[in-house]
Structure formats: structure tokens, C-alpha cells
Amino acid sequence: MGRVLLPFAYHEPKTVAEAMELAKRDAGTYIMGGCTLVPSLRRRQRRDKCLISLARVEGLDDFGIHPKSGLRIGAKVVASALLPNIWAGKRFAALHEACEQLYPPHIGNMGSVVGNLCSAVPYFDLPTAALALDGEMHVTGPDGDRVIALEEFYVAKFQTALKPGEIVTHLFCQPYKPDTGSSFKKIYRSRRTIEDLHKINAAAMVTLDEERDRIIDARVVLGSWGHRPNRYRAAEAALIGNAPNFDLFVAAAEAVTAELLPATDMDWVEKTRFAQARVLLRDTIAQAASRAKSRHDPFEDATEMLEDAR
């Protein structure tokens, strides 16, 4: 890299209506922190002629996380805002962990959660975590307001279901059911290289019944594999109705990998990637189940449960 940015027009609207008007008039792109957009402009992956900053737009800084009312994060809220929030850690652990593990850590102080989700980069962490938490994007646009579930939000690589001019006002996740736990984990290819992006990431949400000995609901998501993070319903079906134990988690992980397609034609790469996906999914589901069982401590890991099962 090292190339300079090409000149562009820049607007700083004060209201959502003004921002949409500018976007329509100048075919502008919205920018919040710019952590994804600025490097893309520099690499000439994008050649936007007009940027519209949402930094001064009023009403996009909602921030509310509570076990009874769910999670609501406005378009201007940066990822590091979630870190000190106790309910984010306890009740929306997958998203909290994804924000905590952002690399480099400085990004969390600059980039917004919604911006990260909207950039639709296939290997990003927050989309995987938010999909496991059943997130939905609340959108306002020239044709009115609408809600897009994250599952329908990602259309293709770098493409979302947003129409031109639409603004995501906030991300909303439903409050947890009782006895629910979630978890997020990722594997880095290596550390401290320019391609230092995670190889695979996974998130899971598990709900147990009242006695906490059967799984009644589950969401299993794998990211960085294909063009968007995906839910794997075969694995979820394998989990639901059964008692959480090590063998079940292994079987669910196998069910996911059975659906995956290889990304390369190199046998050894695929063997490694599939093995990593199996282990990552197994541990992620185990940790989510462990948290559901213990009503849960965000810093607890699944090690104890795995040891018991062995």
C-alpha cells in the first residue's frame, strides 16, 4: 500500500433526512469510522467520488443493552463501547468476545459495530457473532423504514441488501431466553503479517430447557468460509432435543463440516482447514452450552465441561 487517497467530495449532514438527500443527489457513500472504507479507497478497491459522514448525524447513537430489553446499538457506537458493559459480557457474550478480539485493538476505538457489519467483508468477526445472536438491522431509507434480519442482510461478498441511500440506524438483538449462552471463537492464520486476518471464526448460541439437561434451541454460525457467514441448520438440528455432551458437540461440528465446500484445490490446505473448523466449532458450541448451563460467567471457558465429558 502506501498510495495516497484520491480526492473526493465530502459532506457532514446533521440529520438522517439530510444524509439521505445528499446520498441521492451525489450518489455518496456513508462513512462512520472508515476503518474498512479508507484502506479500500487506498487500495483502489473502491473509487467513491463522494463520502457522507454520519459522525454528526443526530439520533444514531443509541446504546442500550439489558437482559430484558435486548441489545440495541446505534450506527455511531464504536466497538470498544461494548467492552465495559456488564450485560454485553454476560448476556451477549458472542458479540462481546468478537469486539474484544478485534485486531488491532485500536480499531475498536475507531470503527463502529454497525459499520463493521455493513462492510460485509466475509472474514470479519462481528457479522458471525451478530448472526449467532439473531441480530436484525433497522434501516431507514427514502422508501421508509424496514427491518432486515442479518441472515438476509448479506447478499454476496461485500454486498448487502441495503438499497441506495438507505441508512442502518441500529442493530437489534432479541433478549436472551432463559438458560441461554453464546460464544465466539476464531483462529488466526498467523500473527503480525500483512495478511493477518483470521482464518476461520465461529459463533454459537445454545438454549437449554428448564432442568438444563436438554438443548431446546441452537444457532451455529461459521464465518470466513465462503462469501458470508452462514448458519448451519443440520448442526442445529443435531443439537436440539439432546443432552449437551462432548460427543454431541463433535457430531454437530461434523454436521457443519459435511456441508462445507473446499475453498482451494490443495489437499493439505483443506485437510487443515476442515480439521480447524471441526475443533473450533466443537469448542464454540461447548462453551455456549457451558455458559447456558451455568447461567453464566463471561470469563468462564468450556474446559471444565470438556474435561468432564472426556
Partner: protein, 161 residues
Amino acid sequence: MKMLATFNVNGRDYDTVIEPHMTLADVLRDKLRLTGTKRACTAGNCGACTVLADEDPICSCITLAVLARDKRIETVEGLAAPGGALSPLQDAFVKNNAAQCGFCTAGMLMTAQAQLRDNPRPTREEVKQSISGNICRCTGYVKIVDAIMQAAEEIQAAEGA
């Protein structure tokens, strides 16, 4: 599309003419002549460009300057006292030989400064975690972590005295 902008850097207001496509690192180095902040990867990977915005570390190479106008910016030039006396953190870096080529040092110092403000008694693991976004290709990090730990102790001792 030139515009007049005011930046609050190290407690002082600077008026300058910028363009929207300039990054904060460009403005600090080329307009305000505060060349302590380094441009290296220009992609937010290496941390050499780290400055503090409202006391939080950010990568100035991928932050558009227009988005940083209403923030309080701190750069490495603001660490030393006005007379030139080094801050305890800078002093610890010198005493521990925590720099070889020194290119990453400005970013390391700013990240460490933010951490010591948030957490005056960090553990070694916490220090390693906080500087994990700052890459050093010379020292192997041990001396840098030593320096930050020593600075934390000295700041604590000075405050307790």
C-alpha cells in the same frame, strides 16, 4: 475541496487548510509538522501511527482528518514536559533500551500511555495485550514490556510519595 479546520493537538489549537482525503497522519506530519507520528503500513496493521483521540489510541493513518476535528488529539510530542524533561514512560523506555531503530516507539509510547491512564497497575499479560496492535521488528518486545512495567511502578511510587 479545501477546507479550514482546527485541530486540538497536545492541548493547543492549530488552524490549517486540509482536504477531505487527507488522513490524520498526513495532517499531523505534513501540515502541523509533528513528525513524531510515523506513517508505515498505512493500513492500520502496524500501530506506528498511533495517536490518542479523546484518550483512546487510534491509527491515524486510516483516520480521515475531517473525522478527527472535534477530538482532543495527543501525539508523542506532547508526552515530555514543556521544558523538555522526559515523561516517566519515555524515561523508562530510555533506561530499558526499549528502542532499537525507534520507528515503532512513538506508537508504542502512545498506546502505553493510554493503557497506564486506564489501568495504572497492569500485569505483563495486560501490557502485552494492549500493545498487540503495535509491531516492533527489532526488540522482540521484552524490553518494551519491561519499560512499561517499570514506568507503571515509577508512576505509582511518585503518586504515593
